[in-house]
């Protein structure tokens, strides 16, 4: 039976939802507001909310003096590169686990997931030393590979879940129809799993874009992405809150826009399989 919704109840619920949403969103809103303030206003006490001289000066300074473009490009390369590389490895892996599972497949999946339970700092030293040995510190390739490895378990898990939804009959039909394993994956499996693959892709781009532990530790300047760019504003000369805010906004804006446009896909992908 549907529950009765009185108008009063509806108003209360709506108001409550807005308040919760505002509380969650407030830090981001504050960052955006601060990014338009002059430095002294940014640290004023009591805080100034809207009544100040709005200006784009912080953005101008940040872009011109700190070379935003290169950081942005590094972020793009690392985030998309690691995700695509991860997909190339994960699609066949998830195919094998979903359709030719053996008695140990479940254990293998759990073991992979367990690697995500270890703090990243635990493997920092070995990975750092390997990077030094191969003279790859501060390169896009290193970051791409490391972030791919970090996110690979999640990519495989997500794809595995989506692939499990695909009836094996269809893949067998493809096999009867003369498709090689490669054709089966390219022409049949992948197109059918597009919603799942798309949301996996998006989620991992977001994870890689925002990843800061490895990017901060393994880059200096050449391969430094936007996370490093933001961190650069907490300098020994003191914190520049307004500029830091402007840099933060410019770091999250691209991914926010991407997320906004793909929201539908993302939600569908994340809840895929939850309800049959």
């Amino acid at each position: 039976m549907a529950r009765a919704v009185t108008p009063a109840r509806k108003t209360v619920n709506t108001a409550a939802a807005w308040i919760v949403a505002l509380i969650i969103f407030f830090p981001i809103l504050w960052t955006i507001l601060t990014s338009f303030k002059p430095e002294p206003v940014a640290v004023a006490s009591p805080p100034v909310f809207l009544n100040f001289d709005w200006s784009f000066d912080n953005y101008r300074t940040v872009i011109q003096q700190r070379g935003y473009g290169q950081f942005f490009w590094n972020s793009v390369v690392i985030a998309f590169g690691s995700t695509i590389l991860g997909m190339i490895i994960a699609i066949p892996a998830a195919w094998a686990m979903a359709f030719v599972h053996g008695p140990r497949t479940k254990d293998l999946l759990m073991w992979m997931l367990s690697t995500k339970m270890m703090p990243a700092a635990g493997v920092l030293v070995p990975i750092y030393l390997i990077a030094v040995y191969f003279k790859m510190l501060d390169t896009q390739i290193l970051l791409t590979v490391v972030l791919m490895l970090m996110n690979l378990p999640i990519i495989i898990w997500m794809l595995y879940t989506y692939f499990r939804e695909i009836p094996v009959d269809i893949l067998e039909a493809a096999r009867m129809d003369g498709a090689t394993l490669f054709n089966e994956i390219v022409y049949v499996l992948t197109p059918m799993a597009v919603p799942g693959i798309a949301s996996t892709l998006l989620l991992n781009v977001i994870l890689a874009w925002n990843e800061s532990f490895w990017t901060l530790n393994l880059t200096a300047f050449n391969a430094a992405p936007l996370t490093k760019f933001i961190a650069g504003f907490s300098s020994p000369q003191g914190l520049f809150y307004a500029k830091l805010s402007a840099a933060s906004v410019m770091a999250f804006l691209p991914i926010l826009i991407l997320g906004w446009f793909s929201q539908k896909q993302l939600v569908r992908g994340l809840t895929f399989g939850a309800v049959k």
């Binding site: 009959d169 067998e172 096999r175 009867m176 129809d177 498709a179 049949v188 059918m192 597009v194």
Partner: protein
Amino acid sequence: MGKISLQKVEKRFGDVSVIPPLDLEVEDGEFVVFVGPSGCGKSTLLRLIAGLEDTTSGKIFIDGADATQLAPAKRGLAMVFQSYALYPHMTVRKNIAFPLKMAGVPQAEIEEKVDYAARVLNLSNYLDRRPGQLSGGQRQRVAIGRAIVRSPSAFLFDEPLSNLDAALRVNMRLEITELHQNLKTTMIYVTHDQVEAMTMADKIVVLQAGVVEQVGSPLELYHRPRNIFVAGFIGSPKMNFIEGAEAAKQDAKTIGIRPEHVTISKDSGAWKGTVTVSEHLGSDTFLHVETDLGLMTVRSGGDVDVHHGDTVWLTPEADKLHRFDDKGLRIA
């Protein structure tokens, strides 16, 4: 050509033997039906022939060549699945064209063959639709279309009609039979429905627990079932079985009589009983009669006027009695 021969083919999943070593010959152009209750291994057997499952031991020959280790696509067989297994993201045209595309057939020839298949199967108006926009029967025809464009040496059908409603099932049954008469290609058809088996097959293979109980033409199986299992499985309604003194009179452990070989009378006969349920189908009447020998089913004319609670007399046609020994085997 489509002669398929299985020699001592065996399938085990771990310690579980699904199909004990089994021999079977399917002649070129034959319509063979594998029938049996669910879990009897008939689908597994079909999948072994298709190459979707590996045999544990034994050999499979297709057209005289050893195909045991060949990949499914290399066996020259086409399969129609119970779930249709159409590619949901492709149009009907692309679905039917898929095997040709995989075989690297030139585009012009693909189009020609797809158009031909669509004409044969009445799908010409639906070529640009996706499977999701088709009815169950149309989907099944697309699946068949995808199978025929390859001109396979044999077709494998895995319970293709189970997902259709009753009326459509009868239609598709006819269509598949007609298709077989036109193409004259070997067909192996798996079903649990003995009516499908009886109406379509040239040769029926009755399976139980992976063991072939009997191989023969539909009427052979009907008239001369080799054992109690086949006798009970083939024919609808099911054969009546009687044990004890009545069977001993005939020098048998069990005797069987089909419902259509029992005459019913209100006055006199061999066995007295009371009607518990009468099912009037119009053309026929199925009567369930409680007798001293157990519950018996009788098939009688549509106009028989017998109802619940009536006392009746049943008489079996003596020459239609089936006799079975203590191992359940037919006594000649």
